[in-house]
Amino acid sequence: MIDRIELGLWIFMLATFIGFQVITRVPPLLHTPLMSLTNAISGISLVGSLILAGAGRGALATTLGAVAVFASTINVVGGFLITDRMLKAFRRKPRAAAIRGGTA
């Protein structure tokens, strides 16, 4: 049986490795959207905030949790919406877009 901490370390190591691999493939053209998208993903602390705010572990936990939920949803919602807004702007030359049926 693997210990939970050990399992966590394995997950961390593999995810870091995948992170390095996929991120080196992102072209400089998209580095700002990348920063924005990873910022949105770092709003994952929302998960921890939800558990804390909803577990009914007393007033202090609920208060801190609610503040944390508030802060992290700003991060998540703002992050994803604005990344999409940025990417919406990226388009090819009109000619190329026409060939592809103007789906861009």
Binding site: R4, I5, I11, F12, M13, A15, I18, T24, V26, P27, P28, L29, L30, H31, L34, M35, S36, T38, N39, A40, I41, S42, I44, S45, L46, V47, G48, L50, I51, A53, G54, A55, G56, A61, T62, L64, G65, A66, V67, A68, V69, F70, S72, T73, I74, V76, V77, G78, G79, F80, L81, D84, M86, L87, A89, F90, R91, R92, K93, A96
Partner: protein, 465 residues
């Protein structure tokens, strides 16, 4: 605590992890990038649903109120923030995420300190230090970029020693808590030290280097999320945190490389302090008018535009696009040379130009565009300075020596649009301005682009093939 045997939770979390990985993978090309955002959103949704349904959540009243308020604020920011303000928007967002992670960590410590393993406590200490320092650090970065805090680096003698002292005491406190978790009185000290360190760490770095800092803070926010994952034994936090940690780290390395500076130089070097005191000798430059430039453009077959911070600051990108359209219609090929740190954040210039409807296949990166300058008839430098300074190639004494630059000086004719002869961010003179083929068009970038549109439109219709 999560029951690991709960299969639907496991499925949702696995889905979330796949969503996050695919979202970063799809960001590798503009055509799939938006699909990447969808994948990320779905991943986050799966993580939230899984958490709400299973992870011991019994009371959702406060969650609903807080989440609704947070979503409203986030959406308002997303809709109204201008694209030029992207770096500070990201900084603010980091501050929010880091604050959440730090608060959860703090509550977790307060609730479970009586019975906590040393490993968990050590990770928790690290998590709180990272979370709180990222919170204040990001707020300072936000303030600097927004112009609320003085943009210039705040430096004093012995600063590195003081900052180092704060860092060491932060770590020391975390260790002390690990050894004896019951010493609650140490918690406020730890939080205070981390908060102050965040301020001290960022305040000494100049506004122009903020993107490197923001990216590094992204990495910290990710690591603090991952650490929280270890503490509350939640795998999706570990996965997302690790992805962010590596992304932020890599991006800040890329940025430093694009400026040919080391990490240490950016973080501890007191940058922007380069002695600009030396009197710059007044050398003659050739001044020109929009009308004259239009005549040059009339016969040009390849025009390369080099946009820089000045263009973004003047919001000239829409006028520049009009000019591009006019020239393209006349049969002139127009390309944009994008330096990796053109607006001081990698890829930021691409976003600004894309928003102005300039197709991304016209935006060419440094390595691809440099060989094209010799056959370029007119290079238009729009509010860029250091990134086109030939001194970076040959002048060993120059502070920017070794930084990769755009070889604009190889073009047959160079038009530099600039408000005045004042030097750029690094405070050094640019020999490009004094070359025989260089002409200076003294104007605000927006004004200049507008004048050029006007003049080019007045040119007689293209007669040559």
């Amino acid at each position: 605590m999560i029951a690991w045997g709960d299969w639907s939770l496991i499925a949702l979390y696995l889905l979330a992890a796949m969503g996050f990985i695919l979202s970063l993978k799809w960001l590798s090309h503009p055509t799939t990038a938006r699909r990447g955002v969808r994948a990320g959103e779905l991943g986050m949704l799966a993580a939230i649903v899984g958490t709400l349904l299973h992870a011991g959540v019994v009371d959702v009243r406060w969650i609903l109120i807080a989440a609704f308020a947070g979503s409203a604020v986030g959406a308002v920011i997303a809709v109204f923030v201008p694209m030029t303000a992207m770096p500070q928007r990201i900084a603010f967002s980091h501050a929010c995420g880091a604050l959440a992670a730090a608060l959860v960590g703090t509550a977790e410590y307060l609730l479970s300190r009586s019975d906590i393993e040393s490993f968990t406590m050590a990770v928790l200490g690290l998590e709180m230090v990272l979370g709180y320092l990222t919170f204040t650090g990001s707020m300072i970065a936000f303030g600097k970029l927004q112009g609320l805090v003085r943009d210039r680096p705040f430096v004093y003698r012995g600063q590195n020693v003081v900052n180092g002292g704060f860092l060491v005491s932060g770590i020391g406190l975390a260790i002390a808590l690990t050894v004896s978790p019951q010493r609650v009185e140490l918690l406020p000290v730890l939080i205070g030290v981390a908060l102050v360190f965040g301020v001290m760490f960022v305040i000494r770095i100049g506004g122009a280097d903020m993107p490197v800092v923001i990216s590094l803070l992204n990495s910290f926010a990710g690591l603090s999320g991952a650490a929280l994952g270890f503490v509350i034994q939640n795998p999706i936090l570990i996965v997302a945190g690790a992805l962010d940690g590596s992304s932020g780290f890599l991006l800040s390395v890329f940025m430093c490389r694009a400026m040919n500076r080391s990490f240490a130089n950016v973080l501890f070097g007191g940058v922007g302090q380069l002695d600009s005191g030396e009197a710059v000798e007044k050398r003659p430059v050739r001044s020109t008018t929009a009308e004259e430039v239009a005549m040059l453009l009339d016969t040009a077959s390849l025009v390369i535009v080099v946009p820089g911070y000045g263009m973004a600051a003047a919001q000239a990108q829409h006028k520049v696009r009009e000019l591009t359209d006019l020239l393209t219609r006349r049969g002139t090929e127009v390309k944009f040379a994008i330096h990796p740190v053109a607006v001081r954040m990698p890829g930021h210039m691409n976003v600004l130009l894309a928003e102005a409807n300039i197709p991304y296949d016209q935006l060419i990166e440094l390595d691809q565009i440099n060989p094209e300058f010799p056959r370029c008839d007119v290079a238009i430098v729009m509010g860029a300075n250091d990134i086109v300074n030939p001194a970076a190639r040959h002048d060993r004494a120059s502070p920017i020596f070794g930084m990769p630059i755009l070889d604009v000086d190889a073009a047959k004719c160079v038009v530099v649009v600039k408000r005045s002869m004042r030097s750029g961010f690094s405070g050094i003179d640019n020999e490009l301005f004094y070359l025989p083929q260089t002409m200076m068009l003294f104007a605000d970038a927006k004004q200049a682009a507008g004048d050029l549109v006007h003049e080019v439109a007045r040119l007689p219709a293209m007669v040559t093939a």
